[in-house]
Symmetry: D2
Subunit: 292 residues, 4 copies
């Protein structure tokens, strides 16, 4: 009566640090790598027959070994992920699809060739999916926090019986955003591309004179697409982290948009997709763990 | 050149506690409610025109007000969510779709009619989606941790050049699982249904003699479907939280499968879908933030 | 010019799970064990001379090996900790003091002899400190959440120019508390003692008709001392997790102390010590990481 | 039989953001402020008499109002904390002691005068304690992560029967450190002082050729004291976040100290105090929630 639908398995959160000692100064990459494989797992689910299953322990060994074997490809999550995803599908017979997801933690060099300080401004992400024919490469960022003290309005909105919000012509807006963008080419300098995209996000969010958070997010996406022709689609999830004016008039103190309570929850949550006009269907490109 | 794709907006993580004082003893529900709406938001994204946008602040007010207005429906997240989702689509003109997601924190009664102790065994979840015609109701659970000290084997698996894992006939298995299941009817006693499903998960995971974690998860799903005819599809994400035998022989101490290191990362991650043979397409039912 | 003051070192967060397979049904304990040692570490700090230093790796090995070697003492964190702390001071020459801290995660048996479900109601804690002469044993609990829907007043408080709080004769009170209590004897059934203390906390917090959160906390401490003559001192840290009445009158809806917003931050924080009249000085007993 | 020992109460985690709009470009500070008061609370604990108790709600109002009233003092946590602590003791009669603790989240300016990006390299901390006579000012840092790819040895350590660690002449060392330092003067440029201390920590940790993690930490403390005559005592808690060489020889791949598994738990934990030779007793200066 019960049948098996979509299934996948893998080793999640392999914490690989690679040191490049042949560089002077040394270089490092710091990754959290999650592998998911699918294909041919009916026997494992229905009969407990593991013969078509590559142990997740072997997948872990592969990730760490490829951190050396894949050479310079390891320096960027996108190229490291392409090498891993293709290996799993090409070399492990029952595997039809592989998805490799990365969190990358940036470090900045300290004051000597061997010391690094973790740069916590954001986490870089990448999701690489391969089905034996197509390779989808998605880059991204998460936990990038931006705050604006001005240039943001919010008014003229729909009113219902539960609407008590006062319109405003000048508010503080803050977010801690997550975004993913899909490349339709692999002929990309991944490091430079990521830097360009993040800078476009920061600049556009900061510079946009905003009438709606939605409008700012669309502009952010358009700027990322504008800057790089191989990016076909951009998805963003951006909480509106409320900063409420604290009422100081009760104590005889003037608060001219200066003192705020930064509230944790609830928060507004705007999410949108921006696509190139002629963008193809993204297929399996995006990591669905995005919220919608 | 850039066009708008899927977009949604809402107020996330409204922390509503409702006390039912007309009961003796008192009853409470403790919810974290997230609302997402979509429909008619082009002007907001492209022109900063908020006239089609219901402020997320109004959505928050609605959630708290419905926590009283919706009466007995508030006692279960599924019925509370149905009331909210239908309101947003029916009463707010540009809204075509609403999705309301719940985390529910169970509390058990203490030793008097007015005191409760939080029961941290799991978080109950629910996702209700409405498009003006169809209402999809999905129940779920997360952070449910189960550990088995026996009745689990793992061997006869595929071998590649990276395989170093030793086969085992008796291992400790542990998980902290997330699951969602979709009801094709609303004629359901939601509280009883949830209790039945969770008990089926715990019993089946605990009692199944396992040859593969995948096999156990399929059996868990089949048991949930078996117990309730209106459940058409079940999805589960279950980390295999590794407990490694600690090598005590080095110190002249025997370790007969008794002393383990509970490792944090990496972990195996098995995910699968179990469907009733004749299950219809789930459409928008499932919260995609599930990992695949 | 710079001199060395207090210093300590150790291996923190050893995640030991021990299965007792000679019981039928099986039993398990699930611990997070942190070791800190001090004594004789001047050369290590001033000259990088490691000869007086027991590697933290060896301390880790010791914890896992004692999880078997210490036999039945392993079943309770207090007795396991006494064995470990005394070993480090007695057997490792430069060590003058050892402190061993435990988090213990309770599991309840499922429906068969080999399956367990994690009981998330609280984390049990223990801190054992030994200086070669005295052994201090402290038991505790953290993340124990209690909520009362009635029997709590708050009024007649001090007023200053910043006071805007309205007095109340009936409020919801909730906490997620941390407590530690010090035993002046080791002739204790640790499991039963812990259960008795936690029950006293839950019962007293729940049953006390409260005029002040401080008053409730003192009563809780007094009840714990009252129930067990060997407990000399009790310390508690209890946030007052605010549940604010949501103003529904704006929507024409009556809210008779029924619908609340559970706020995250800020929160009230009450902390107090309750001592037996004739309590000796606690010396090194308490884990100072308590907040004051 | 039960008597009251040390007790304190306050409003914790007030999330205050202050915008200085009279600057061009704008400036902001982002604080998490926790207040604890003690003095005269016997009646509250023993009788539920709140007449000597300043509601924590009033304390919250005070923090937000002082974020404007205290003027330029608000720009640095140390001066803001001094103003708050002295107010509570001087102006609220039963209060004998006040401790005000800060987390400060640094933001860096984006590409325009009104936009900021959160700089996640560390959290700045401050603890100010006042007893009516003495003001103790402690600055600090937490979650500052540093990694060294070379210049670190560990060998010649004490051996016991549980010692299996191999000595090494070249290892990766990483930490995420917490430190506090006590100023014996208030005639300090707090912003510059903090920057100088953090730079001394980063530079010394990075440049020190290390024979022991303990030795590095002492050098770090000595460097902080050396750079600023008013700092009398420095306390540091520094996990040794293990990076284990991954054994790739099993797959025929050479790993010359290049590919590491960054393990989460357990971790080494070194903690030490470095004092100026003639340092006075620190009294109540340090926040005890430091781990020892």
């Amino acid at each position: 009566m019960a049948k098996l639908g979509h299934n996948q398995y893998g080793k999640a959160e392999n914490r690989v640090v690679r040191v490049f000692r042949d560089s002077d100064p040394h270089e490092i990459v710091d990754y959290n790598v999650s592998v998911a494989l699918w294909g041919g797992q009916e026997a494992a689910h229905l009969e407990g027959d593991n013969s078509p299953t590559l142990p997740t322990d072997s997948q872990k060994n592969t990730v760490y070994s490829y951190a050396k074997e894949a050479g310079d490809a390891v320096r960027q999550p996108e190229s490291f992920g392409i090498a891993l995803a293709r290996h799993f599908v090409a070399d492990i017979e029952p595997v039809t699809h592989a998805r490799v997801k990365f969190e990358m933690y940036p470090w900045t060099r300290g004051n000597n060739p061997h010391a690094f300080v973790r740069d916590g401004r954001f986490v870089r992400t990448a999701t690489i999916t391969y089905d034996g024919t197509t390779t989808w490469v998605v880059s991204g960022v998460k936990a990038l926090s931006i705050l604006k003290t001005s240039d943001s309005e919010y008014h003229s909105f729909l009113q219902d019986k539960y609407t008590t919000l006062k319109p405003t012509r000048d508010r503080v807006v803050a977010t801690s955003l997550t975004a993913q963008w899909w490349h339709t080419s692999e002929d990309v300098d991944w490091g430079k591309s990521h830097e360009t995209a993040v800078q476009a996000i920061i600049d556009t969010y900061g510079n946009h004179y905003s009438l709606a958070h939605q409008q700012t997010l669309f502009e952010v996406g358009a700027a990322v697409l504008n800057g790089q022709p191989q990016i076909a689609e951009f998805r963003i999830t951006a909480p509106n982290l409320h900063h409420f004016d604290y009422d100081l008039a009760r104590f005889g103190v003037e608060n001219n948009n200066e003192v705020f309570h930064a509230d944790d929850r609830p928060y507004g949550l705007q999410e949108c997709t921006v696509q190139r006009d002629d963008a193809p269907d993204p297929g399996l490109a995006f990591d669905p763990g995005q919220g919608w």
